[in-house]
Each structure stands twice: as structure tokens, then as C-alpha cells.
């Protein structure tokens, strides 16, 4: 870990961020009234283990959704539906779009959790099981990033949780079977985002000269390899990707966190994966996402909270509870056997509320900044709080999809709808369109995910 001293002074040139910004041409965006395009930002937050809701295989009342489909208001959520998990988001009712009735298109392969997390943002078929399970397609964050971020800017792939746990990663795919690990240390993420913004002009120029010299040499070697006649398609792609990401001048952010916020990130960096820091690290990652969006340094991010079968022990009612995974299965065991956990359904609901509060933190942060259309940045964002299971019993049938943000006015927010039991690729297609990526004829995008799934989008989500 780079110490604060090194980080801020840039001694040794361990980091770089040049004051000269490249001329960035973003490809996507929402056409404004004036005809110019304004960016739309996308963030996908993932909860595991399902939510506490009523599903056919489980005899429980619903404590997640509003009681009625249709319009939702701050008043309806905070009063009539105060017993429901989504009531935690009541203040943002006018920005919310709650969508039930979407399901995953493919079954799991022996492990509901790995099958779920791999399909969650890919809508792709999953091969393998458990820790060796992989999705057969690109995830929505990478799909969008290629459309709306400049070359060299990749989506932020973040998590709060341990990287060495069972099914530690599984959300973000650069392509079929190409899983990208999520970063779990917010201080390291911040360093990567802002570079040496505090360094002197003289030092930065020196670093630029040195790195250009080194990069030129490396580029020469890469070109030689890329020119080999024997390259297979996959080898060529691997090398070309490497070649393309070598850059002399980083796209830098013009904004930073405050010193005290940076200190907080550094203080937690050695314990970012600790159970007790799950919530605070998730919120720090949200701070970083909102900051990156506010500076237009990145337009797409994923945040995975907890691991595949999330074993986090959450603090509920002042007590450290059994693992979330066991609570979600309602028994004191990670398999099929174990004593019942008393009040597990209510505990699960209270954990849903913890997730709702974390999501609210993201919405708070997105509301602090002013977005490109002049209102809160949230208005120019699509924020999704999703899950890789419908409920704790490994159901893929009614995934809780909570969208916030108007996406520049594209989404019809302030409502709770039932999509009608469609595969969730259609839901993701609608989010893709909301992020500004449509078909050439400007009609909504309809073909993300596995080609065997029914194409389409969810018209009721669109304003």
C-alpha cells in the first residue's frame, strides 16, 4: 500500500496523473433539447442471497415491495408501506422505479449462488459450478463502458468483502468466460482514480517524460509481437488489449475527496475486507463512484456487496447475527441441514433494510453533486440495486430490481411495476437504453445477453 506521504508527494513517481487532460470524446449520452449530448451514468449495486419477499416456495409474507403496484410517493412508502424494506428509500420516491416480474433465463449449475451472480449482469448462460462457474457473455457494465467511456477508461469494478472467499467474484465480465476481479480496497481505488494530483508541475512533467520513454520501448516490443504471423485470434486480442491500454497521459479527475475523507480511506485500507467494515467500505466505494461520476472520469461502475453466498455477519438490533447466508436459508448451516434460526425471515428483512440504507447512501452522494443537466447528478444517473437471487431459497423467479435516477428523463420513475415474468435481459436492455445506448434507429436496445433469450425491453419503464 502506498503511504499517504508517497501518495501526495509522488516521491519516486509511484503514481502518475498528468495535469494535461486528453481531449476526451465520449461516445454515448442523452441528446438534450439543444441537440448536444449529455452523459448518463450507470451504477449497478449487487446484494446476494435474495431478499425477504414472498415467493411460491416459501411460506412467508412479503416485507420487501410496496403493497400496491402503481405510483409511489414519499408519503406512500414512509407511511402505508413503512413495514417494507424499500420504505428506507422513501425520500427518493420520485426518483425510484421498482420493477418486479423479471427472472433469470438460465438455471444454475449446482450452486444457486454462483449461477445467480454470473447471470445477474450478463443475462448469459453459466457453465461450471461454485467457484469454477463462469458466465458465457459480457456484463452490462463492460458493454456500456465500451459505448459511453473513452478508449482506455474501463468501468469501475468494486466490491466490499474478502477476495479469497468462496465465490468472491462473479459480477463483471469483459467478455465470455472473462471474469474481472473486483477491487476491495477503497484507498487503492482512490489512488488509481486520482493519481498524483497533489504533486508539483515540475515533478509531473518529469514523470511524464520518463514514462513516455519507457512506454515507447514497451510499445515497440508489443508491436513486434503483434506483427507475428502465427498469432491466434485470442492471443492477438490479448496483446492488442494490452497495447491499447498503455497510455502516456492519463485521463485525470479534476476533483478529489477532502483530506479527512482520504485519511479515512487510508485508515481502513488494511482492514477493508473485515466483516465489521462491510457497510462502511461499501459506502466508501459509493463515495468514490459518485465522485468519479461527478468529474466525468468514468460513467459506469459495479459494486458487489459481500461475496457469492454472502457470509457477512451483520449487526441487527445491536447484536452481531449469524451469517447472512445461513439467515437467508433460515437454518444454522450452509448446506441443507441445520437447526432453524429463530426469526430468520425478520432478520433477513432487517438485513434488506441495511442494504436499502446503503443504497440510499449512494443516492445521497449522487444528489450532492450537480449533474450535466443542471439538477442533482442522480437525475443523470441509472442506479440499480439488484440481487443474484430472488429469495434465500435459490429462486431465480422474481429478482428484486430497484432502479433510482431518471437517466436524464428517459425513465418513468415514481412507480412500482410488474414486468410480467420476463427474462431479465429485457430489463437490462431498458437500462442500456436509459444509459444512452439505443439501436441505430433510436429505438430502445433489445438484444443484450444470450441470443437464445427473447429480445425486447420493458416499455413501462420508459417515460
Amino acid at each position: 500500500m502506498i503511504s499517504r506521504r508517497r501518495f501526495l508527494t509522488g516521491l519516486g513517481g509511484a503514481m502518475v496523473a498528468l495535469p494535461v487532460l486528453e481531449s476526451v470524446k465520449f461516445l454515448g449520452g442523452r441528446a438534450s433539447a439543444s441537440g448536444s449530448e449529455t452523459p448518463v451514468y450507470s451504477v449497478f449495486v449487487r446484494q446476494g442471497n435474495g431478499c425477504q419477499q414472498s415467493v411460491p416456495t416459501r411460506d412467508e409474507i412479503d416485507r420487501f415491495w410496496p403493497s400496491q403496484l402503481g405510483a409511489i410517493t414519499t408519503e406512500s412508502l414512509s407511511q402505508g408501506d413503512s413495514s417494507q424494506a424499500v420504505s428506507e428509500l422513501a425520500d427518493y420516491a420520485s426518483s425510484l422505479l421498482l420493477v418486479r416480474g423479471t427472472r433469470f433465463g438460465f438455471r444454475g449449475q449446482g450452486c444457486g449462488h454462483s449461477g445467480g451472480i454470473n447471470q445477474c449482469l450478463t443475462a448469459a448462460e453459466v457453465t461450471g459450478s461454485g467457484r469454477s462457474s463462469l458466465a458465457g457473455g459480457e456484463s452490462i457494465d463492460w458493454f456500456l463502458s465500451k459505448q459511453v467511456n473513452p478508449v482506455g477508461v474501463e468501468p469501475l469494478t468494486l466490491m466490499s468483502g474478502p477476495q479469497d472467499a468462496y465465490i468472491a467474484h462473479g459480477l463483471s465480465y469483459t467478455g465470455p468466460q472473462q471474469l474481472r476481479a473486483a477491487a476491495n480496497n477503497p484507498f487503492a481505488v482512490y489512488q488509481d482514480l486520482v493519481g498524483l494530483t497533489g504533486a508539483s508541475q515540475e515533478l509531473l512533467e518529469a514523470i511524464a517524460r520518463r514514462r513516455t520513454s519507457v512506454n515507447d520501448l514497451v510499445r515497440t516490443e508489443m508491436r513486434e509481437l503483434l506483427g507475428k504471423p502465427y498469432l491466434s485470434a485470442s492471443d492477438k486480442q490479448r496483446l492488442q488489449t494490452h497495447f491499447d491500454v498503455i497510455r502516456d497521459i492519463e485521463v485525470n479527475m479534476s476533483c478529489q475527496l477532502t483530506d479527512s475523507e482520504v485519511m479515512a480511506l487510508e485508515d481502513i485500507s488494511g482492514a477493508a475486507a473485515d466483516n465489521g467494515n462491510r457497510v462502511v467500505v461499501a459506502e466508501m466505494m459509493m463515495d468514490l463512484i459518485a465522485m468519479a461520476f461527478s468529474c466525468d472520469a468514468n460513467r459506469v461502475a459495479t459494486l458487489q456487496i459481500g461475496t457469492g453466498n454472502d457470509g457477512t455477519r451483520y449487526m441487527v438490533d445491536g447484536e452481531l447475527q449469524n451469517t447472512y447466508h445461513r439467515i437467508s436459508h433460515r437454518i444454522d448451516g450452509d448446506g441443507t441441514e441445520g437447526d432453524p434460526i429463530a426469526g430468520a425471515a425478520v432478520l433477513h428483512h432487517k438485513i434488506d433494510r441495511i442494504f436499502a440504507k446503503m443504497f440510499r447512501h449512494l443516492l445521497d452522494r449522487l444528489s450532492v453533486y450537480t449533474g450535466p443537466t443542471g439538477g442533482p447528478l442522480l437525475d443523470d444517473t441509472v442506479a440499480l440495486w439488484t440481487n443474484d437471487l430472488a429469495a434465500g431459497s435459490h429462486n431465480y423467479g422474481d429478482i428484486p430490481q430497484v432502479v433510482a435516477g431518471k437517466a436524464g428523463g428517459y425513465l418513468k420513475t415514481g412507480q412500482y411495476i410488474d414486468a410480467g415474468d420476463v427474462t431479465h435481459n429485457q430489463f437490462l436492455n431498458t437500462l442500456i437504453s436509459a444509459a444512452g445506448v439505443c439501436k441505430p434507429d433510436k429505438s430502445p436496445y433489445d438484444s443484450f445477453g444470450d441470443s437464445s433469450l427473447d429480445k425486447g425491453f420493458i416499455g413501462a419503464m420508459i417515460a
Binding site: Q178, R238, L239, H242
Partner: protein, 541 residues
């Protein structure tokens, strides 16, 4: 000297043009050689170990820069097909390279270790000497003249970038920055070409395959010298070198890592048990179980044992905690000492504490997970799709077996998979409780550990208990093939292809009938065409 005279001439050829024609021993290579990526990237673990070796450090340096995490790489953590490259990777490799270069160039000890002993004082001469000495170790092969010249330009301008340093130290620093970001360092480049469908790899390419397979790090100076002198250009040469590598502690660590992943032992130390039933259970006992299992497996592999011994040997290593659980009498402390387990209660892996404890619930043995584990990891038998779990179970019966049978046995929704594939194996291990302790009865009820398992081939095995089950699995070609298949996958660092499976099948047969040692199987892997050759145009994804 391992050099085969017939291949002496090869040493004079430029890297990438070795061109060994398939010999009689390599008959059928064109048909059998497997495809593979030509540019496997170093994993993060390999990067750290390689940097340590480059600088002659005892352990990987503690860096302030973090490398971008590698995702789970499939069954094993060295699977080159799963390694992606992205901008985040590049930035993290860049930062780490700069940090290592700073550390090395400002440390007199490291500078001395990595520089030639007769370092000239003239800047140009010093740069050339340093690059020709250090560069081949970074590239894991000889450098071409134009490559040396290219790096020399960077070396000479080093002082422009680091004016506070001496000219030579600054040159070393910036040159190291470049070398450690070079694709020839970050990838194990396999550049050899041939008119044949099968391309014989150069000695240096084989040296890298060997060192990363056995040590998970770069070749030693001796191994690089062997490659340069042509020692690795023949089948026998490769075999002989691999044989010597067994004497290295790093090889033991590498096969510990193999067993750790193949048998999912990482979780042994992270298990929960009911504190009322098992008051002495704690994390340290789980860690001891992991240590014991690794020592047992390593002892068999490095002591000349075969796949059979892994399943039936009663050799064990116990400390006081494990001796108590195994019921071994005597005086024991914290140290692990070799013992023989009671052959009427114990045999190999399936009757060892770690496996049994991991595949158990808080309170009870877990026949389902034991059966699943054996099918997936010892027999390599895939399962059909698994249905969603029912929401609640209502088991009936007096014994654990009866209860499991009542919810997954004949007449239930688990009737097919559980009754025929999963449960029989798990039931065979019902003499071992949630901590792997032997039990003659279960709360006064007799233990029924007899059952019949039917392989995919239709072959049936009947057994009365875990000992017979282990014995019969140890005589099964499927089990031998499964272990060898995983071993091959680990040594090659990639998913297996049909061409690989033919080798697996033939070795498995010999392993069953002739008791081939695992060491011999490993040597056969590295001398095989699939290790020493590559397809000329691999399209493996």
C-alpha cells in the same frame, strides 16, 4: 551432464528457431499435441515470486503498490486462460515496476547482486554489461542484439529522469522500470515456430514451463544455463531436469498448493462446529487438519506413492489435538509426528479428519456433501442440473442415514441423483462424525455404512464401510484418471483438451494396473509432447 549429443547443434540456433523434428519417441505428435495460448501472463503470485528471484530476495518484497487482483481462475490458481489484461492491470504493473526499480536501484546489496561482478565505470559500457547480465533473467531467455541496444538507450538517459542519482544507478533504475513492464517479462512468451503442425518449444520456453509448473516462479540461473546449453532440447534432458527439481522445497510447496486446491482444503480452518457437542473445536484444530492432510499427501507423492496410496495408506502425521481425535495412543505435543493409524478404522484421504470435518454439518456427518465431493473431485463425475432447494425439509428416522434417506432417497425429488450417485458414497463414511471421529454406533443405533455405487460406465462397487469404499475406489480407473487429469491441468496451467485426455486415459490405466508412482506420472507429463510442444496455431480460448 544431461545433454544429448544429438541435439548439440540446436544450441547455436537463434531462439524461436530451434526446430527439433519429432523423433521416433514422439510419434503421433502432430495428431496429439495440444493448443495453448502463446502469451500466458504471470499470475500475481508468479509476478511476486519472480521479482523476488530476480533480485535474489528470500521472499517477495512488500510493496506499497497493489497489483490488480486476479479473478478465480477455475479449479486451479494458475490457469492461464482466465487471466485477462485491462487498463487497471497495466497501471498496477506500472506502479509496481517503478517501486521495485526504486527499491533495487537504491539498495547497494540488490544492485550488487543483480549486476555483473566486473561492472565497467563508463556509462555506455556499464549499461551494456548490466542489460546483458540482468536482461536475460528478466526475459527468461537470451536477449537479441537489437533488444540490448534498445534498452541501452533507456539506460543512458536514466540520469535525465533521476538527476539526483548517479548516472549508472539512474540507468539501472529506469531500465528496470522498462524491463519489468516488458511483455517479455509479464508474459511467458512462446515464440517458437515451425513448418510442422507441432512446434517444439525452445529450451528456454521449456525452462519456463518447468519452473512455473514446479516452482511457480522463474527458472533458476542453473535452469536457464541448461536451456542455453541445449540440455532441455531432448525428452530425456527435460525429464532429467525435472527429476532434480523434486529436491527443491519449492516443488513441495507447489504440490501442496495443488492438493490444497484439488481437495479444497482452504476451508478446513474456517469451519464452525457446535460448541456444546464439540467444545474443543477451534480454528487451530482446523488448521492442524489442513497441515496433516498436506503432510500425508506430500509424503506419499514425494515418497514414491501412487494414486492408490492416497486413498488407502494409513501413514499419518499428528499432533496432540489430532492424535486425540484419531484415537492414537501415546504422548504428543504441538509437533506433527509420523504415526500409523488403526487400519481397522482408517485408510487414506476419505477417512482423514480434514475431509470428514469439512464435509459435515455443525453437529453431524454430512453424507450428501461427502458424496458430492467424491463424485466431483475424486471421480470427476459431472452432475446433472441441480433443482432449487425445497424450502423446508421434514426428515424422519433414528439415524443420520435414515434421515438423509427420508428427504433425498427413493421416492423423493432427489431420488435419482442422490440414491444412485451421491448418497451411497456418503453413507459409506457414516462411521465418522462431524469431526471425523470414528463411531461404532450412533447414539446406540448401529451404523449402516454399506452400500453400492455405480460408476458412469455401469461398473458397480459394493462396500461395507469407508475402508472398503476407499479400497475399491483406489482400484478404479476413473479415480486414477481424475487425479491425473487434475495434475495435468495444474502442470500445464490450462483447461484440458481431447488430446490431453488421451494421455490421461493411458496413464490412468497404468496407474491402476502397475501402481505408477505420482512422481513418475509428473515426469511423464513434462516429457510428453503436450508439455514440450505446442500447436503451431493455437486457437484455444
Amino acid at each position: 551432464m544431461r545433454l544429448a549429443t544429438a541435439f548439440l547443434f540446436l544450441a547455436s540456433l537463434a531462439p524461436g528457431c530451434v526446430g527439433e523434428a519429432p523423433t521416433n519417441n514422439d510419434k503421433g505428435i502432430d495428431e496429439n499435441v495440444a493448443e495453448a495460448p502463446r502469451f500466458p501472463r504471470l499470475t500475481n503470485a508468479q509476478w511476486h515470486a519472480t521479482v523476488a528471484d530476480l533480485l535474489y530476495l528470500d521472499a517477495p518484497p512488500t510493496l506499497e503498490s497493489e497489483l490488480q487482483a486476479d479473478p478465480p481462475l477455475g479449479r486451479f490458481d494458475n490457469n492461464i486462460q482466465r487471466l485477462i489484461f485491462s487498463a487497471v492491470h497495466w497501471r498496477s504493473f506500472q506502479r509496481a515496476a517503478e517501486e521495485v526499480a526504486e527499491m533495487a536501484s537504491t539498495s547497494e546489496g540488490i544492485r550488487t547482486a543483480i549486476s555483473p561482478s566486473d561492472m565497467p565505470s563508463d556509462l555506455q559500457d556499464a549499461g551494456r554489461a548490466f542489460i546483458e547480465h540482468f536482461g536475460p533473467r528478466v526475459f527468461r531467455r537470451e536477449m537479441r542484439v537489437e533488444e540490448v541496444e534498445r534498452y541501452l538507450l533507456v539506460f543512458v538517459e536514466g540520469v535525465d529522469h533521476y538527476p539526483e542519482m548517479s548516472t549508472i544507478h539512474a540507468g539501472i533504475r529506469v531500465t528496470m522500470e522498462a524491463l519489468l513492464q516488458s511483455p517479455h517479462f509479464l508474459y511467458r512468451v512462446e515464440d517458437s515456430t515451425s513448418d510442422h503442425i507441432a512446434v517444439s518449444l525452445s529450451g528456454h520456453e521449456i525452462a519456463s514451463r518447468l519452473s512455473y509448473a514446479f516452482w511457480n516462479t522463474m527458472p533458476s540461473d542453473e535452469l536457464l544455463a541448461a536451456a542455453t546449453s541445449g540440455d532441455l532440447d531432448s525428452r530425456d534432458g527435460v525429464r532429467d531436469w525435472a527429476n532434480t527439481m523434486f529436491d527443491d522445497k519449492r516443488t513441495e510447496a507447489q504440490f501442496d498448493n495443488f492438493h490444497l486446491q484439488a481437495f479444497q482444503m482452504n476451508e478446513y480452518a474456517d469451519l464452525d462446529k457446535d460448541p456444546t457437542l464439540f467444545p474443543d473445536w477451534n480454528r487451530e484444530v482446523g488448521e492442524a487438519m489442513q497441515t496433516e492432510t498436506l503432510m500425508f499427501l506430500g509424503n506419499e507423492v514425494f515418497g514414491g506413492g501412487g494414486v492408490r496410496e492416497l486413498l488407502v495408506s494409513t501413514h499419518a502425521f499428528v499432533n496432540s489435538d489430532l492424535a486425540a481425535l484419531y484415537g492414537v495412543e501415546g504422548s504428543f505435543g504441538d509437533e506433527f509426528v509420523p504415526v500409523e493409524l488403526d487400519p481397522t478404522q482408517r485408510s487414506g484421504l476419505l477417512t482423514r479428519l480434514g475431509f470428514l470435518t469439512k464435509n459435515a454439518t455443525l453437529t453431524q456427518s454430512d453424507p450428501i456433501h461427502r458424496g458430492v465431493f467424491v463424485n466431483l473431485n475424486l471421480i470427476c463425475r459431472p452432475f446433472p442440473e441441480v433443482p432449487n432447494l425445497p424450502d423446508s425439509f421434514d426428515p424422519t428416522g433414528d439415524t443420520n442415514r435414515e434421515q438423509v434417506d427420508s428427504i433425498t432417497g427413493p421416492g423423493t425429488c432427489g431420488g435419482t441423483c442422490h440414491t444412485e450417485i451421491i448418497n451411497p458414497i456418503g453413507f459409506g463414511l457414516e462411521h465418522y462424525d462431524a469431526l471425523g471421529q470414528y463411531r461404532a454406533d450412533e447414539g446406540g443405533q448401529p451404523v449402516n455404512a454399506s452400500d453400492v455405487y455405480v460408476f458412469e460406465s455401469g461398473q458397480e462397487i459394493a462396500f461395507e464401510n469407508g475402508l472398503e469404499l476407499s479400497e475399491k475406489l483406489a482400484s478404479s480407473a476413473e479415480v486414477h484418471a481424475c487425479y491425473i487429469q487434475q495434475l495435468l491441468e495444474y502442470l500445464l496451467g490450462r483447461d484440458l483438451l481431447p488430446a490431453d485426455m488421451e494421455l490421461v486415459a493411458s496413464w490412468a490405466q497404468e496407474s491402476v494396473t502397475d501402481g505408477l508412482s505420482i512422481r513418475e506420472i509428473i515426469l511423464r507429463v513434462v516429457e510428453s509432447s503436450n508439455f514440450r510442444y505446442r500447436a503451431s496455431k493455437g486457437e484455444m480460448q
